[in-house]
Assembly symmetry: C2
Homo-oligomer: 411 residues x 2
């Protein structure tokens, strides 16, 4: 948690409604931080449907392994999240820590350990002392409450400078349902998947397989389209729970059910909201950049080109310096490996077209381009001129503060 | 050219011998810089064999296109290199500029334009005023001299803080031959190929096809194994010329000729020397890092893992902060996409084993690891524990100075 809040932070937080069927509590277990909460317990008094998406790292954390093993069971009663220690690359001790935590949670909540979900975030490679959870989970279960979303978001922060929450409503078969989500993440943020930890709960009644389908589809243009530093965490975890408590809504058990349209749109919008909040809290970020690529051979090619631009240190430092250095955008297009024809490329910063037909725009105005770069939110658009593929990804600038934050993170 | 020389610069420069058959001159054509040379002319009074390796960017510069088109001819009489402007993404104007430059050079030297090679480095997207070369190339040809290597290296610098030169000798069929090389590059340095501009000349007599074979093989573990910032330039050019002036050496016309052993070793050693000099001048670099991966499924897998580590902003900022943060090395192994088993990984900083069997080394000493990180040259080794593949790549740390240099490069 940084002393200085990102200048890109939201100006206000939404009122987070209570979602029937989920209660939360936080505690200060002293994992790493002093004088702040570092454990979150989410309790579903009746089993909730659950879906999950995790890091594609070949060296995932012990909690990721634990969640993946439980997911086929499809039902959740408890979620334990800690900040300060990722319980990653901790070997047998790491597995023992997940088992001990799940055991403590199952006893506190009164459920099976395969109904428990775990997530940890923080330093990699340090053994996690899970005995610290045993002492607090019982009290947390007793005191857990439904009106606690912002506090929940605060307990899972690491280098985040602000808590991340979002809420939406949707309608399924005439019944209004709610979705609330929290997220954390500021560095080691890159596809796939983008993040970080995020937990979304809805009171809709949706079967686990359908929930999984919705979530897997939803992450592509949202969490998997944001990048802070191209570094993929060992611990990325996004879990979606459905409590089924929305009065009168019949459970949806088919992913093709037309009644899901409104819910799908609301879910995707909420995921995008949370994902962009993560980028806006990118370590050291002072500017947010939306990179849109059009005219590529395919959507997938467009996304790879967009990520090549968004992950380029030279593009990101130019943004930090408010320098309309579109030559570096050309460089990043060229290194992406995707088809591109220099003489068909066009590049815009905001609404200012800076390059067209393989050279500087004849009407190029350095002053106009620089004025765009001086804004807080910058749109970069590249048209490849070859096909119909398009994609947008979001990133932030690369500043001296990023280097400072990451040069002494452990100390 | 920076006011502050990299702390990793060589303590002294080698004496660069004259190579029979090549003469050089530099001039201040005022392309971008003031009060310094910015054009280099290399002249081969008799046609030299030539080989080349270029950027894999899909948006290469006009000079790269020009060189590629001439290379099948196999013979060179002149090389014109300028700094300050890359003549990249300059469209028809860019092609016209290469034609005008080649025309001026062919007139000055008295050769065909397909015997001229061009390279430009600097800002992308700005039209290059090639008329500035026309006025200086005639005088440069007249004054060119063989004892001018360090000045040649200086004329091609951009953000480099020191000129890069190297020399080697070898033996072909009992005759001693010499190799001299110069290079420039400090940012936008990444495979493939790593760089930057580099020009190597030997007095050996070697046919163009053989020369190309030697060069293509040689770049893999040298220029294509260094990375400063993962950003691949549009202009990367490495040219190798053989003047054939070594007295009494019969031309080698077969790439499998056993007489090439000594030359091949000397060439590869010289390429590595120049490539590492580029990394040691990485923008803002304060530390040099050699990342060695062993025990991977294949050499190619090892190289991809090593590059994932070497390009990770979080690893590079940890090095800048002298933080033995091996958790980030684990992260980078995990995101590489290559096979890895957490429980078989071992990691060393210098001679200090920090992790083994999927967790922190039981004998881990933070003090010993930190002592390694405080050095200028840091060796990171990762054993994957799965196979026999190995590779080494070289990089530098990511510092606030990198951000500063690239945040206001154009201004």
């Amino acid at each position: 948690m940084s002393a200085t809040v990102s200048p890109l932070a939201p100006k206000s937080y939404p009122d987070m409604p209570v979602i029937d069927g989920v209660r939360m509590a936080t505690a200060a277990a002293g994992i790493k931080y002093k004088n702040r909460t570092d454990v979150l317990l989410m309790v579903f008094d009746e089993p909730a449907s659950v879906a999950g998406v995790f890091t594609r790292s070949k060296c995932p954390s012990a909690p990721v392994d634990f969640c993946r093993a439980n997911l086929p069971h499809g039902k959740a009663r408890a979620v334990v999240v800690n900040s300060g220690n990722a319980n990653a690359f901790t070997g047998k001790k790491g597995r023992a820590a997940t088992e001990l935590t799940a055991d403590s949670a199952s006893k506190a909540v009164g459920c099976a350990t395969n109904e428990v979900y775990l997530a940890s975030t923080g330093v990699i490679g340090e053994p996690l002392d899970a005995t610290k959870f045993a002492g607090v989970l019982g009290d947390m279960h007793a005191s857990a409450t439904g009106d606690f979303w912002l506090e929940a978001a605060k307990a899972i922060m690491t280098t985040d400078t602000y808590p991340k929450v979002a809420t939406r409503t949707a309608e399924i078969g005439g019944v209004t349902v709610r979705l609330n989500g929290i997220a954390k993440g500021a560095g080691m943020i890159a596809p796939d998947m983008a993040t970080m930890l995020s937990f979304v709960v809805t009171d809709a009644a949706i079967a686990p397989a359908v929930l999984q389908s919705l979530l897997s589809e939803g992450v592509g243009p949202t969490f998997n389209s944001v990048t802070v530093d191209s570094d993929t965490s060992t611990s990325d975890t996004l879990l979606l729970f459905a409590t089924g408590k929305a009065a009168g809504q019949q459970e949806v058990s088919d992913a093709g059910d037309v009644r899901l349209a409104s819910f799908r749109a609301a879910l995707n919008d909420l995921l995008k909201d949370l994902a962009l909040q993560v980028v806006r809290d990118g370590e050291g970020a002072r500017k947010m950049v939306a990179v849109t690529v059009t005219g590529a051979e395919s959507d997938a090619a467009a996304k790879r080109i967009a990520l090549s631009i968004a992950n380029s240190p030279l593009v990101k430092t130019a943004v930090a310096g408010e320098d309309a250095n579109w030559g570096r955008v050309v460089m990043a297009v060229g290194k992406s490996g995707e088809m591109a024809d220099r003489d068909r490329l066009a590049i815009w910063f905001g609404d200012v077209r800076v390059a067209v037909h393989g050279e500087r725009d004849p009407d190029y105005s350095e002053a106009a381009a620089t004025a765009v770069m001086q804004q807080e939110d910058i749109a970069v658009r590249v048209d490849i001129g070859l096909g119909q593929g398009s994609a947008t990804v979001w990133t932030c600038d690369l500043t001296k503060e990023y280097v400072a934050i990451n040069g002494d993170y452990r100390s």
